[in-house]
Amino acid sequence: MLKKLLKKVYSKKPNVPEKSSTEDILRKEIQLDGNLEQTLGFFKEIYSYPDNQDFVIRNIHINGMSKKAALIYIWTITDVTLIDQHILTPLIRNNSTSSKIEDIVSIQSVDTKNVIKDILPEINKGSAALIIEGDPQAYLFSVTNFEGRGVEKSENETVVKGPKEAFTEKSSTNISLIRKKIKNENLVVESLTITERSKNDLFIIYEKDLANEKLVENVRERVNSLQVDAIQNLSLLEQHIEERKFSIFPTVLYTERPDRAASFIEDGYIVLIMDNSPACLVLPATFWSFYHSSEDHYLRFHYGNFTRLLRIIALFITLFTSAIYVGVVTYHAEMIPPDLLLAIAATRERVPFPAAIEVIIMELAFELIREAGLRVPSPIGPTIGIVGALILGQAAVQANIVSPIVVIVVALGGLSSFAVGDISMNFSIRLTRFLFLLVASLFGIYGMAALFTFGIFYLVSLKSFGVPYLAPLTPKYVSSGDTIFRRVLQYEMYRPGYVKPKDIKKK
């Protein structure tokens, strides 16, 4: 009911006077008719020339044809030297009368379009359009050159042993990074324009003979049904396509490592890539894909599983330490070994707050240090460490605001939280930790057990694109058995059954 009401409020159209754009839309439907002046006029209108600074109209006279012509492009996203050397120079120097444009220009790909609507997106993508007097079509030369970083090291998902390269903001680079790993004609890169105003492109990448068609169709449908003006990048897209927007757990994996993406594609998953995102989205994602890291498989069997063990321990420490401390100290003091109990009691003697408040204060302080450390300009970075360690640790204890044991408990939990690499999962665990803390301070271990059961029910009922969140642990599926621990590579024989790949067995 409440949700419905809220929905109503949100979906209500704000009452703002809107200017009709029918005129613009009509203009885009116009076919080219060979009248150069008129056509250029349209383009100038559409691109608000000369206000628009990077829109260029270069008027030229083609000698051989003795015709007037104009080259239209956006210079910021085109390769200007390419235009100069391979389009302008040949056209101007050309003398033969009969030559076709395709024969004069020495550019890789030439296309012709005759409706303005079709030409616009091409120009927007960085093509140059040549319009010639008396010719009812436009020649489109692909001279795209978006700026972007080169391929760099991945920063958020670092590994010691394994490839270091990461995705960049340029989708073509990203696709080539994946193609470098999967040299197979079955790798399909579908392209879709998903937004109405900014015309953002999305690439859906999967292996045709592996990925389940229903799944691909499901993704396509969900993406196509988006009615949004603009989605700049994948981080935003993720929130548009996920099933449960209010769920505390992520259901789409966001990774910046091409090797990880490639291995997911090889298991029959689907990968989404967009411009402007130095990462990709992997669908569907289970709990395990957030818990794993690519290094687990690069390391040898025992080493990999050791890190897995550490990570699961860290996960539980993060979730439970502070909650257990509060629960045990306030409700189950008898379970603490007597010496420790007396030590806790002694240090807490002069602390003015109840244990729960004390821990919450420290937890908040830790989260603050963490957030501030992330946002602080790097020259000032070291100060955060000093402030954090000295003021919040040392001084708070000496000032009797917190007891030293709480500092240990919180620091342990905070430290462990870094072991879970995935940023979304990291957040969900850190948030859940506060829930546990709250419940523990009100109901002790009983409350924690209740919340835990509640949480598992919740996890089990989650689905990501039709895949149960805890699969293949439960419900059981044929899979490589890669859950909390991994197997020896040779025994990981099956692709995960829950994505229903067309070919279950790996060779």
Binding site: M1, L2, K3, K4, V329, T330, Y331, A333, E334, P338, D339, L341, L342, A343, I344, A345, A346, T347, R348, E349, R350, V351, P354, A355, V397, Q398, N400, S403, P404, L438, V439, S441, L442, F443, G444, G447
Partner: protein
Amino acid sequence: MTKQKSLFKMLCLLSFLLLLLSGCWDQKEVEKMAYVVAIGLDQDEEDENRVKITYLISNPEVGSLAQGGGAAGEEPPREIISFTADDFITSRNLANTVVAKEITYDLLRILVVSEDFAKNKKFLRWLYDATKEREIRRDIKILVTKEQTSSFMIDNQPLLETRPHEYFEMLFNRGKKAGMVPSSDLLTFFRITEADADLFAAAYGTAQQNDNSSGKNKDPEQAIAGELQYGGETNTVQYAGSALFKEGIMIDTLTIEETRLMFLLHPTENPVAILTNLPDPFNEEYQIATRIRPNGQVKFDMNLKKETPSIDVTVPVIIEVLTNHSGTNFAKDSEKRIKLKESFEDRITKKFEELIKKTQDEYGTEPFGWSLVARKEFLRISDWESFDWMKTYPDIEINVSTEVRLGNFGRQGEMLNIKDVRD
């Protein structure tokens, strides 16, 4: 159905939040608690139906090096209060007239009972209060003191262990390993009292040293707490020997030696090693220091269906010789070794027989836990109950034998013959 769904979600959330808001009933902050480590129980002098309760409360600030402790060093390690109450459950509130913090039994380690009170018929009723109270565990220990528990606690001032719970824990662990006192926990007390067959042995201690002359030159083995003479700068409290309870009432005490023999005869409770002196068969003047260890399970051969039931008990022990004052070289002489073995066997068997005779004649039942072994001879509980161990025991014919196996003769086997040196 969406209506129900959203409503349901709201309901879940709301009721959960409300539950959260109204929580914290059992919450207690650790620093607002007074941790009772030992409870003393005495008979109130005036009213038969009331008890005098002594609390030994531990001060958490002592012995912690935590920052902000401030003047912790100057606070005493413990607080002792005694008062009269109806029982030790309601006494928790009564204590708050003196102690500011809430009394908790979370750290309760030991229940101290004075000998007078333990011999009282009503004692059992008060002790059974412990089964009702949630905070009292079944693994706490029972100690019987010779004097009033309140004075015992005050006189008990351990010098090295400042924290009282640590003191009691270590004392009992060590005492049990050395075979000086029985382990005497509440769980066993209840079990034995309920089974109504055996005697329960509780640890015995006192803070008063017996000054009368009879104790002066006594063999330490024959002593119980209070009869040993210690000099030097130490705590006056002694723990030695055991107090026997029959049907929940204390009937007698056992000396250190008897306690140790009891351990050796017990089918399950075995001490790790007993250090003791046995007479030297080669020279009456000297004693041989030995370490006695049980060598496997005590063997029983019970024949209870006869008119006069009989039990054959075989106690296997390993004896290591630690000193050899007479200088007899038995390490290398097999004949002498056999003689030594036989003398040990005789000696120990004789002791066993004496003790068993005492239990049969004086107590009517045994503290060795033999009834558990005897139970195996019966198929049904009704048979066992009609056999009535406690009634039958004095008439049972008991044959004890000891199987001695000589262990090592110390690090250096051969001894210097002192007589030869003095020549």
